[in-house]
Structures are given as C-alpha cells and as structure tokens.
C-alpha cells in the first residue's frame, strides 16, 4: 500500500427523498490497494459505487477519485476508471469483439488494444460470436475486458463472481490479484466473504448507511471472530444466507 490516495471520501451522504441511504461515510483507498466494500443488501454499497463512478450526485460531503472531484470533474474521472457492473450489461446482439470495439471508440483507444484484452481474458477464440451465445463466465470476462480496455487506474468491481461456477470465479479472482500486483487500485464489492478475505488489503463493512468497521481482514478477524463471515454477522446482524434469499 502506498501513501498516495486513489479514492478519498469525506462525510458522504446521499438522500432518496426522506430516506438517508448514506449517513456521512468517510474512507480512503490507497493507490494499488484492493479495497473490499461489504455490506448487507440495501446498506448503500451500490449508491457509494454510483457516486464514486460519477453516475449519481451525493447529497452532501465530498468524494475524490484519482484526485478528481466526482461531481465537478466527472468526465476526466470516467476516462481513468473501469467499472464491472453487477449486471452483465453487454450488447447481446453484437459479438464480443464488436462490444469492445464500440467501447474502444468511446474511449479513443487503438483497436489493437481490443485484441490485447481479448487475449488477456482468454476470449480471442470466441470474439466473433454474438454475446447472447456466451456463457455467464465468458460474459463476465468480457465485462472485465471492457473495463480494462482503456487501462484504468482504478477498477470498480461490483459482485464480479456472483453466479459463476467455481472454476471461472477462481480465474477471475486470480486475475484481479494480478491486476492489483500491477498497481491497479481495485474497489471490490462482494457477498463472498472468503473472496473478500483472500483478495482485499482492507475491508470496510457498511451497515444501514454507516461504515461499522474498516481494517485489514486479519485485524477484523482478530477482533470479531474466526472468519470474515463471523465478522460480518457480528457487525451487521445479517446472515449471508439471508442475503441471497432476499
């Protein structure tokens, strides 16, 4: 972990009508850090990601990513971040390559880079096929390829392994770890505590719009339980099984 901040959040609030979804959260993420952002459904994780990626304006407080204000410098910020959404939001009628080519045009990225990321994610052989015939795992890899196309400095991963079979999920975890080794800052939300434990340098647990814990997985386990799942349940009162049943 370096001393330079990739993400800096101060007293961030977000209201939806009378409901305050974020209640003044503050945290920093260092450059090159993998930051696990955990919490039960409705805790405010997606709201936080939307604010940090410039999709949503905060109601109060400040947030900077790579030194850019997420409200005032949204366009500069968005040119340097990559986002892998929870939903597989790809153009299903286009091929994998055409999906990336479209993104390459938006970012002004050389088309050779499309082939590079297809190779990197192991999709080169299937690149010409329409996305609608891709498996979930291939779609997820394509989402990551799209997010990496413009070589972002910060990568936001929202539930990147949800619903994937164990082999694909493991490949993706390995890939994320490799990215972090290369200095990419990763902001990760996941329901898989083991995944967060293995990948994250630090973990924040969000509950009802407040950060109730923020530390290294080891420190949290030392304080609250044997596993990160124990920590999660102790701090939020939610069982993870319940999370999936919702």
């Amino acid at each position: 972990m370096t001393g330079t901040q990739a993400i800096s959040v101060q007293a961030l609030t977000r209201d939806y009508g009378a409901v305050r979804a974020l209640k003044g959260i503050s945290f920093d993420v260092a450059q090159g850090e993998v930051f696990g952002f955990l919490g039960p459904n409705g805790a405010g994780k997606t709201t936080t990601i939307k604010i940090l990626t410039g999709q949503l304006r905060p109601s109060g407080g400040t947030a900077q990513v790579l030194g850019y204000d997420v409200v005032k410098e949204r366009q500069e910020l968005q040119a340097r971040i990559g986002v892998v959404f929870e939903h597989q939001n790809l153009y299903e009628r286009l091929s994998g390559r055409d999906n990336l080519t479209f993104s390459a045009r938006l970012y002004g990225v050389d088309h050779q880079r499309v082939d590079q990321v297809l190779d990197l994610l192991g999709l080169a052989q299937q690149a010409g096929k329409k996305v609608k015939v891709y498996s979930n795992g291939m779609k997820q890899r394509l989402l990551i390829a799209r997010a990496l196309l413009h070589e972002p400095d910060v990568l936001f991963l929202d539930e990147p392994t949800r619903g994937l079979d164990p082999n694909v999920a493991r490949d993706i975890r390995t890939f994320v770890a490799e990215l972090a080794d290369k200095g990419v800052t990763v902001f990760l939300t996941t329901h898989y505590m083991e995944e967060a434990d293995r990948l994250s340098d630090r973990v924040a647990i969000l509950h009802q719009g407040n950060i109730v814990a923020l530390d290294t997985p080891a420190a949290l386990k030392a304080k609250h339980g044997e596993s990160l799942e124990d920590v999660f349940i102790a701090l939020t009162g939610n069982s993870l099984r319940g999370q999936f049943e919702e």
Partner: protein, 364 residues
C-alpha cells in the same frame, strides 16, 4: 463547462450514432418501427392505383361552346367524363386535385362547326405535371382512339402544352405524398429514439455508457443522429416512390430536415421521460394520435369547423404536410412556406429545450 475537445465530442457521438444505426438493423423492435412506417409509405403510394378505374379513361372536359362531343363522351361506355367547369382554370384545378393520371380536355367554341366542315381542330389537353411522358403518350393515343370511334374522323389531341401544376392547397397525389412524408418522418423520429433508449435501459448498457467518457448529451445526440438517419431513409423512400411529384427539391429537403429535427426531439423527450415499454407504448400513441389525426382534419377542411382547421394548421404534422404540398406545387412564393418552416423549426427548438431539461433532470 467544456471538458472534452470538439474532436473527442464528435468521436463519442459518432461512435454512439454508428452503433445505434447498425443496432436498428439487428433489433427487431426498432427495425419494425422503420419497416412499418415504410410499409405505410408504399401503401399510400399504391392506394390511388387500387381505386383507379383500370378499364375506363377519366377525362375532365372544359367545353367553351356547346359541343355535341360532350354528350357523346358522357354516353361513352369506356370514358368517365366529368363536365360543368365554369372556366378552363377551374377544370385545371380539378385535374390537379386528382391522384391518378387524368386528362383535362378543352373543346373550343367552334369545334362542331369545324367538325361539320370536315376539318376538326386539334383538341388541347392537359395532364398533371407528375405524369410521365410515356403515360402522357398512352393517354393521348387512347383519347384519339376514343374520339375517332365516336366522331368517325381522326381528331388530334395536343398535349404538348404546359402541364398542370398543383397549388400549395391542392389535394391529389401531392397531398397523398405529403401525408406519407409527414407520417414517415413523425413516426420514425418519434418512436425510434425512445425505443433505442429503452433498450439501453433494459439491457443496462446505459449504465456502462454513463461511466464512459460519454455524457448524457453525447448519448442523446448520438441517438438523435440515428433517428435522423432513419427519418432521412424514410423520406428518401417516400421521394423515390414519387420523385416526379416534387417540383421544389430545396423546400422538400428543408421540410424533411425540419420535420426530422422536430420528431427526433420529441422522440428523445419521450425516451428521457419514459422508463418502461408499457409506458412508451401508451405515451407514444398519446402523442402521435393528435399529431396524425389533425392531418386528416386539415385535409378534410371543407367538412370541419374553420376555427378548428385554422388551429390545426399549426400542428407540426400539418406544417410538414403543407410545406411538402408547397414543395410539390408549381409557382410558389415565400408566403406559401416561410412562416410554416419557421414554425416547424421553432417547434423543434422548443422540444429540444425540453429534452435538455429532461436530461439535466435525470443527470443526478
């Protein structure tokens, strides 16, 4: 505050527009919008041919004297003769109102005298300006055959004079083509952009666009260009099917572009405000119905209250209709189109302002 260079803005908008233009071809909902609109154009163009009398020849007659030929033509089983025009101009105006090729025949005052003398004069005849030379020859030959059969003597029919130009207020083929132009531009422009935006929302690809360097304005502009592209495709098909009707191409083009700007702006507004396909199906028709129905009111103005007609004339679809009719007419002055074109552009600008408001409202 401008964050991107103009070149970057153009690159992003071009990427979105190109992606959407190709996507329409692959997307059955969007493609259906274009195909259905084009089918209506083909239907409108083919309609006059469906009700045209294939066996009888239609002739409008201006009889300057009191020729016995008129009665003969009226009694002919192969000619549908229309008579009783007070002047040559009245007869020509009526021919201009027809949407199938017609002959306007002039019988001079001394025709019977000269016929009795065995030297019948050539009869002057007129056809609409959009009838092809080949069809004019066929009509002329057929009329000469009819006259020879009825009179027992060869009578020339001279159709080499001026063709009959439509007036900006004429009905006839010009009005039919103008109606299909209004339909195709308004329907494609109003329904395609919200369909595309809805698809992006449904597939959540809009989220991916919104975290890319594309701003909501880029996205709206890209979709507007795609909508305008297909409006122009629809207009091109309309004009290709009826190119002979157009007499003022520059006005036809300006009308198409102004209609496209208005309808695409309206489509973007619907796309910005509506969030589900059910909402879109409902509201698109709530918006389209008055726009399209008012065209019928104006075309049937003789049957409608004048106040209603004078109000409906300023509905954008009727502005398109009347501008196109002017583009298909003979001699026109700026008074026939300038205010209407300005009003259509103003309607487009006002709708675009509403689009900007809706996008800013959603850009939270």
């Amino acid at each position: 505050m401008r964050k991107h260079s103009l070149a970057t803005d153009i690159r992003i908008v071009q990427a979105i527009a190109t992606n959407d233009i190709w996507d329409v071809v692959r997307n059955k909902n969007a493609l259906m919008v274009v195909v259905m609109a084009l089918l209506v154009v083909v239907f409108y163009r083919a309609l006059p041919l469906l009700y045209a009398d294939a066996t009888n020849m239609s002739v409008r007659i201006y009889d300057a004297g009191d020729s016995s030929l008129v009665a003969m033509l009226e009694n002919s089983s192969t000619v549908d003769a229309y008579i009783g025009y007070a002047s040559l101009e009245a007869m020509k105006a009526r021919v201009a109102d027809d949407d199938t090729p017609e002959l306007g025949l002039v019988i001079p005052e001394d025709f019977d005298l000269l016929l009795d003398a065995g030297t019948p004069p050539a009869l002057t005849a007129y056809t609409q300006h959009w009838v092809s030379d080949r069809d004019v020859s066929k009509i002329r030959e057929r009329m000469e055959g009819e006259l020879a059969a009825l009179l027992g003597i060869a009578v020339d029919v001279d159709v080499t004079g001026d063709r009959i130009d439509a007036l900006p207020t004429s009905h006839g083929l010009g009005a039919t083509v103008a109606m299909s132009l209004a339909y195709v531009t308004i329907v494609i422009g109003t329904t395609l952009p919200p369909n595309l935006m809805l698809e992006e929302r449904k597939a959540r690809t809009l989220d991916a666009l919104l975290v890319s360097p594309a701003t909501p304005a880029h996205i709206a502009l890209g979709k507007a260009i795609c909508g305008l592209f297909y409006v122009l495709v629809g207009a091109a098909v309309t004009f290709a099917a009826s190119y002979a009707v157009v007499t003022h191409w520059e006005l036809a083009l300006m009308t198409t572009i102004a209609a496209g700007i208005f309808s695409v702006s309206l489509g973007l507004l619907l796309g910005a405000l509506l969030e589900s396909r059910q909402q879109m199906q409902l509201w698109t028709w709530v918006v389209l119905a008055p726009l399209l129905i008012s065209v019928v009111f104006v075309l049937m103005e003789e049957l409608m209250p004048p106040v209603l007609v004078s109000v409906f004339r300023w509905v954008p679809t009727n502005l398109v209709l009347n501008l196109a009719r002017a583009a298909f007419a003979g001699t026109i002055t700026a008074a026939d189109w300038a205010w209407q074109l300005l009003a259509l552009l103003a309607a487009g600008a006002a709708t675009m302002i509403a689009v900007v408001w809706a996008i800013r409202r959603s850009d939270r």
